[in-house]
C-alpha cells in the first residue's frame, strides 16, 4: 500500500529547544491516522511542517508522493490537501460564504460548484444562519466549523485536522465524525490530532504517539491498544501514570 504521508528524520528546533526530534512517520493511504501526544509534545509543530506552514530544521517530507521541500511539488500537493490549522487560517473581515468562495477559487473550482458546495457545507455545519457575520464575530467553535468547511470544499484526497473537535458542540461533533468516517471510507486519508481519546478510538484506524518530540509508537489502533483501552495505553506510552502523580493533601483533607 502506498503512503499518503512519509517523513524521514523530520526535525524542528526552536533555538536550543528541539520540538520535533527525527521522527519517521508512515501514514498509509485510506487510513484514519490519530496523532497523539501530551501538551507540548510536538503534534502541532509536526502538522505545521507536513502542511508547509513551518520549515523543518532537517529531514524529508513526502505528502501524496510529493516532496514538500520542493516548492513546485509542494504547490502540487496542496491542490489535493485540506487543512484545519492549529490557529486556523481565516480572514477576520470576510463572511463564511466569502471565505469559502475565496478558497474555492484558489483551487480553480467552477463558480456553480463553489456555490453549491458552500451552501451544503454551511447548512450541514449549522453556519447557514450566521453567514452574514464576519469571521471575527464567530465563536471559536464556529470558526472551527468554517475551517472544516473550507478544508472539505475542494474535495481533497488528504485532510490534516489539528484539534478539529475543540470547542465544537456535541451535535456538530457527531456530524463531523460521520462526515470524516465517510471521507476515509471512500479511500481518502485523514491525519488527526486530538486530546479526546474517545473520538480517536472511535474514528482512527492507526495511531502515532509523540512524546517530547520523539515518535514513541506508530501502529494500527488494535496493535497499540493490545486489548486495553486507548487511554490506559496512551498514559503508559506517554510515560506518565495517574497513580504516580503527587497528591494535594490539603485538597483531600476534611474541611
Amino acid at each position: 500500500m502506498s503512503l499518503a504521508i512519509e517523513t524521514r528524520r523530520l526535525t524542528r528546533d526552536f533555538g536550543d529547544f528541539r520540538a520535533v526530534d527525527a521522527i519517521d512517520l508512515a501514514v498509509e493511504r485510506g487510513t484514519f491516522y490519530g496523532f497523539l501526544g501530551p501538551n507540548g509534545a510536538g503534534k502541532s509543530t509536526t502538522i505545521k511542517m507536513l502542511t508547509g506552514l513551518l520549515a523543518p530544521t532537517q529531514g524529508e517530507i513526502r505528502v501524496l508522493g510529493r516532496d514538500m521541500l520542493d516548492p513546485k511539488q509542494a504547490l502540487d500537493a496542496k491542490r489535493h490537501v485540506g487543512v484545519i490549522a492549529e490557529n486556523l487560517a481565516l480572514f477576520d473581515n470576510l463572511t463564511a460564504r466569502e471565505y469559502l468562495t475565496f478558497v474555492g477559487r484558489m483551487h480553480l473550482m467552477a463558480r456553480d460548484t463553489i456555490r453549491q458546495r458552500s451552501e451544503e457545507l454551511l447548512t450541514l455545519l449549522g453556519l447557514i444562519d450566521e453567514e452574514k457575520k464576519l469571521a471575527l464575530e464567530y465563536s471559536h467553535g464556529m470558526k472551527k466549523k468554517l475551517a472544516l468547511a473550507a478544508a472539505l470544499l475542494p474535495n481533497p484526497d488528504l485532510l490534516f485536522l489539528d484539534e478539529p473537535f475543540e470547542g465544537v458542540d456535541a451535535i456538530t461533533s457527531r456530524i463531523i465524525r460521520d462526515l470524516l468516517a465517510g471521507f476515509v471510507a471512500r479511500g481518502s486519508t485523514a491525519f488527526l490530532t486530538s486530546h479526546v481519546l474517545e473520538i480517536v478510538e472511535k474514528l482512527c484506524t492507526h495511531v502515532g504517539i509523540i512524546v517530547g518530540g520523539k515518535l514513541t509508537e506508530q501502529a494500527s489502533l488494535e496493535a497499540i491498544r493490545q486489548g486495553d483501552s486507548l487511554e490506559n495505553r496512551f498514559i503508559q506510552l506517554a510515560g506518565a501514570d495517574a497513580a504516580d502523580a503527587p497528591k494535594l493533601t490539603w485538597l483531600e483533607a476534611a474541611q
Binding site: L54, N87, L90, N93, E98, T101, M106, E130
Partner: protein, 611 residues
Amino acid sequence: MTREHLLAFLWLRWRLRVNQFRKAGPVNAFFFIAFSIFALFAAVGLLVAGLLVGLLVMPRASPAVQLLVWDGVIVVFLFFWSIGLLTDIQRAEGLALDKVLHLPVSPSGAFLINYLSSLSSLTLIALIPGMVGLILGQVFAGSLYMLLALPLLVAFILMVTAVTYQFQGWLASLMTNPRRRRTVIVLVTASFILLTQLPNLLNIARPWDDGRRDELNRVNERRNSNQADVNAKQITPEEYLRRSKEIDKEFGDRRQEQSQRKWEQVKRTASFVSLVLPPGWLALGVSGLSSGSVVPALLGTLGLGLIGAFSLRRAYRTTIRLYTGEFTGQGQCAPTKSSPPTDPNRLRLAEWRLPWVSEHASAVAVAAFRSLIRAPESKMALVAPVILLVVLGGASVSAKQEPPAVIRPLMAFGAGAMMVIICGAQLLGNQFGYDRAGFRAFVLSPVSRREILLGKNLAVAPIGLGLALAMWLLVGIVYPMRIDHYPATIAQVVCAYLVFCMLGNALSIVAPIPMAAGSMQPAQVKLVPVLLQMLFLMLLPLAMIPVLLPFGIEVLLAEFAGVRGVPVSLGLSLIVLVVVVFVYRAVLTWEGNWLAAKEQTVLEVVTSKGE
C-alpha cells in the same frame, strides 16, 4: 476592600504595564523610559517655572490676564490629556474589571482602586506640578486667597479624570460588540489625528488674523500710489513725506483701535467660554481670587467636585452593568435571522473575475479588497489622506497665490504620489502584517506566490490609486494645466503606484511587522523591520526619479531649446509607463519566488505576535 487587595491591584496594574512593554519590544520600552524621564524633568522644570511666574509676574497681572493665562494652561493640559486618553483607548485594555470581579473583592472596592490606580498618567505627572507652582508662587507673593485655588485644582483634576473614566467605561460597553469595537477604534484614531492636527488647522484658519491682511494690503496700495506719484513728479518730496506720515499714522491708529477692540472681544469670549464650559471654572475661580473675590472659586470647587462625583457614580453603574452581563455584545451583532434567498444569477463581489489577470490573482484581489474595505486599519489609513486634503487645501486657499504654469503638472503628480505613499505606506509596505491568521490561507493555497502578490497589489489599487487620482483631479481643477499634461500626469501617477508596489512587496517580504487585530499598532516593535520601513520611505523619492524624467526633459527642452507647446512629457510618460509595466511583471515573478522561499518566516512573524 483590604490593604492586601489594594496592593494586589497596584501590583497587577504595574505587572500588566511591564509585560505590555516587554511584549512590545525593546525599542518601545526605550522610548517609554526616555519619555518618562523627560516627563519627570518637565514636571520639575514646570514646577520651578510656575513658582517663578506666580511669584514675579502674575501678581502684577490684571484679573483678565489671569483668566487668559489659566485658560491657556487648561487648554494645554486638556490637549495632552486627550492625546494620552486616545492613546490608551487604542491600546489593548490594561485592566478590565470583569476579569477580577469573580474574585472575593467587592465591585465598589475594585472600581475605586482601579480608578485611583488609573491616575498615574504622564500628563498628570508632568503638568500638575506646573499648575501647583503657579498657585503657590502667588501665595508666596502675598495673596493668601490663592490657597483656595488648591482645592479648586483638586476638584478640577477630579472632574477631568472622573469624566474620562466614565467615558472609557461607556466606550468599553460599546466595544463588547466586535464590529462596534472596530468602529470605535477607527473614530478614536481619527479623533487622535484631528486633535494632533488642531494647531496646524488653527494656523491655517488664523481666526485672530481677521481683516489684518486686507488692511495691510490697502495701506500698501496707498503707499505704492504715493510712491508712484512722487516718481512721476506729480507731488513734491515734501508732500510725499507728509502723505507717508499721514498713511502710517492712520494705519497705526486703526491698528491700535482694532487691537483694543480685539482685546475686549477676547476678554468677553474667554469669560463666557470659561463660564459655560466646566473646565474653565478653574480659570474663573483663580481670576476671581486674584481680585479678592472667593465666591467663584468656592462655587467652582463645589461644581467641579459634584460633576466629578456624578461621573464616578455613572462610571460605577456602567461597570456594574458590565459585570452583571447587561452588555455582552450578544444580540448586538449582525442579525442572525435567515437571509432572504439570493438571486442565483447575481454575481457576488467575491466572485468577480478581473480582466487580464489570472483567476488566482482575481480571487486574491477581490477577497483582499473585501477584507480591506471592512478592516478598521484601512479606514484609519484613509483618515490621514483626508486630513492632508484639508490641510493642503486650506493652505492653498489661504495662500491666495497662483503657482506658475510650469510647476502645475509637478504639483498634480506630487499630490497624487503623496496620496499613494500615505495610503500605501501601511497597506502595501506591510501587506501580510494585516492578514495575521489569514496569511496562513495563502501559504496553504496551491497558488503561485506571484499571483498572490499581484492580487494584493490590485486589492489596494482602488484605495491607494483611487485616492491618488481624486487628489490629482482636485489639483488639476484648482490649478488648471495644459490639456496634454492631464494624461501625462495620470500616467506618471500610475507609474508611481507600480514602483511603489514593487518596493512595497519587497518590504512586506523582508520586513513584515505583526499588527494587533483591528488596529494600526504593531503587536511587537523590532528595530530592524522598523528601520527598514523608515529606509523604504526615505528612498522612495529616489525610486520616483524615472517617473519624473519626462516632466524634467520637457522643462529642460523648453528652457534651453525653446521647444514649447509640444507634448513631450505625455509621449515620454507613456513610454515610461510601458517600460514600468514590463519591469513590474518581471519583478513580480522574482518577488513571487522570493515570497515562496520566505513565506514560512513571514508567517511566523505575522501570526506569532499578531493573533
